[in-house]
Symmetry: C2
Subunit: 358 residues, 2 copies
Amino acid sequence: MSYQRIKTKQIRIGSKLVGGGAPITVQTMTKTDTRDADATISQIKELESIGCEIVRLAVPDQVAAESLREIKKNTSIPIVADIHFDYRLALTAIESGVDALRINPGNIGEQKRVQTLVGAAAERDIPIRIGVNMGSLDSNIEDKYGRTAQGLVESALSHVSLLERESYHNIVISVKATSVPVTIQAYRMLSEKVDYPLHLGVTEAGGLWVGTIKSSIGIGSLLADGIGDTIRVSLTGHPSEEIRVGFQILKSLGLKSGGIELISCPTCGRCQIDLFKLLNEVEQELPLTEEALQVAIMGCVVNGPGEAKDADLGIAGGKGCGILFKQGKLVKKVPEDKLLETLISEINQILEERKQAI
Amino acid sequence: MSYQRIKTKQIRIGSKLVGGGAPITVQTMTKTDTRDADATISQIKELESIGCEIVRLAVPDQVAAESLREIKKNTSIPIVADIHFDYRLALTAIESGVDALRINPGNIGEQKRVQTLVGAAAERDIPIRIGVNMGSLDSNIEDKYGRTAQGLVESALSHVSLLERESYHNIVISVKATSVPVTIQAYRMLSEKVDYPLHLGVTEAGGLWVGTIKSSIGIGSLLADGIGDTIRVSLTGHPSEEIRVGFQILKSLGLKSGGIELISCPTCGRCQIDLFKLLNEVEQELPLTEEALQVAIMGCVVNGPGEAKDADLGIAGGKGCGILFKQGKLVKKVPEDKLLETLISEINQILEERKQAI
C-alpha cells in the first residue's frame, strides 16, 4: 500500500530536506547541558551513530548559545537551537552556526525584534520552527479557545502571521499536546490550513512504555493519513530510545525501508516450539544492515507457511522442529535446537548473496 | 475531545456487549494447550485478574473442544472458541458452553454444514466471528485481488454472505494483516460496507517492543477514527502483556477511564533533577485504583506548571528540589530526595478524600 502524502512546502535544515515529499526525518533532543559542549558533542555523536537525522538542543542562556559554536564545529548532523522568550539567544545561536531555530515569535516581544530575528535567519537561510505546546499555551488563546486542539492551531497561526508579516516563509510548525486525541485533532486541523511542513510529536508522552504507545498512536495515525514531515518521539528516557521508536514507527508504516523486519505470531495452543525464546534470541543476534529483509518466525503450520511465503525467510514450527522457507520455497526441516543458528546463517547468506549481486 | 464512534450493530458475547456504543472490550488468547484444562483455567484466571474481558482459546481437535466444558465451569469471563475448518469441533464447542465462535464458514465445506452450525449457534444465541487473516487468505480471493486490503475485505464479505444466507446476523468481523497500513486500509473499507461490530488487531505483530508499536499504530489509528468495537493486541509474549498494551491504547485515546495516568516530560538541558529515576520509582510504587487520576512529573518550570495545572497533582523540577502542585494550586517546595515519598503520599491522600466524599 502506498500513501497519499499531503504535499507541503519543502524547506532545508542543514543537509536535510523537510517537507515537499522528502523522506520523513527522525529527530530527538539532547539531554545534556548544552553549556557542557563536550558532553553534548559526545551525545550527538552517539545519536548520529544510530541514525538520528536532526538534533535539537535546549538553549536556556547566553553561555549555552555560545557553546553551540564549539558543538557545531565537532558534529555533522543538523542542529536546531531551542529557545524560549529571549530573541538575543536566537541571534547568538544563528551566529554560532545552528541550522534551525525553534522559537515562537509571539513570545519575544515587539515586532521590531521579530524583524531583527527574521533578518538574521533569512541571511543564513535558517528555518524557524514554531512549536506550540498545550503546556505553555498563551493565556489570551487559552481564554478564548480553552485548552483545545483549536487553541493550539490558533496559537500556531498567530505566531506564523508574525513571520509572514516580515515575508518570512521558511517555517516548520508543531502543535503538541499530552493528550493523543487532541494532538491528532490539532495536526489534522492545522494541515488543512497551512502548507508549511509539520513536525509531529506527542508532548510529555511518558516513560518508555506508556510514551512509546502514546507516540505510536499519535504520530502513527497522523502519518497514516499522510500528515507529517519530520517526527520526534518524546520519552522520559535516553534520547536513543526516542530515535529507535521513531524509526520503528516509520518502518511499521512502510515509510522507511531497510533493516531486518521480524514477523512473528502471538502463538496459541497450536504452537509446539518455544517461540518466545527463539524470537528474543533472534532479535539479539540480528546483523545490522541497510538491506530490507523480512523474516517470519511462526509457531505453527496454519498461518505460518502463508506468512513465510511473503517473507524472504521464514520458519513455521512443528513438533520439536521447524520448517524453513527461503524466498518462498521450502528448504528443509530443522531440529528446534538448531533453528536459531540456521536462521542467522541463512540471513547472513542472503545478505552476502545480495552484496555479490551488486 | 470526544469521539464520533461509528455506530455498529450490538451483539453479546456472554456477559459482554460488543458494538452499538458499548465500551470497547480488550481481549487476548490463551497460550496454553486447551486440552490441558487445568493450565488453561489457571491462565484465564490470571488474565481475568488483570482485567481481561474476553478470552479466546485455540480448539485444534475434539479433545480440546470437549475440554472447554471443564474450562467454562471453572472460569467466569466470556470464552471464544477458535476453530479452523472442522465444523464438528464448533458443534462440540457450542455444546461445551462457549460464548462465541471464531470460524470462517467458507472453510467448512458445503452450505448444509453452515446451516447446521448456524442452527446450533442460534439456539444458544452465540455470535460467530469471521476472522480473515492475510496469512491464510483463500486462494481464489488471492488470485483475484492479490494480498491486498481489498482481498481481506472481499474474503470477509464472502464469509458473511454464507451466514446471511441462513439469516444469521449475530456476527463480528476481523480483517488482520501483518502490515499496519494494509490493516488500517482494510478496516476502513470494511467499516463502510457493513454495520457488524469489528474486532481490531494487527496479526503477527512481533515481539514485545515491535509488536507494541505496530499494534498501537494500527489499532490506535482506527480507534481514533471511531472504528472498532473490541480489540486484541497480538504479541509474541505472555497474553497478560497483550492485555496491558490493549488497555493502555484505550487509555491513551481517552476510551477507557480509571487508573493513574502519569505524564512526564522528555527532559532537556533545562532539567535539574533526576527525572528518569523519579518517574520509574513512581511507576513502581503507584497504588492500584479504579479512580482516574492524572499525575504530572515535569523536569522544569517552563512547561511544568502549565501541565501540572491540568493534572490532579504535579511536580515541576527546580534546582535540587521540586515544586508541588495539587489540583491546580501550588502546595510547597520539596527537596529532591523527598519527592517520591511526598508524591505517593499526596496520591494516597487524594484517593482517600475521594473515598470519603462518596
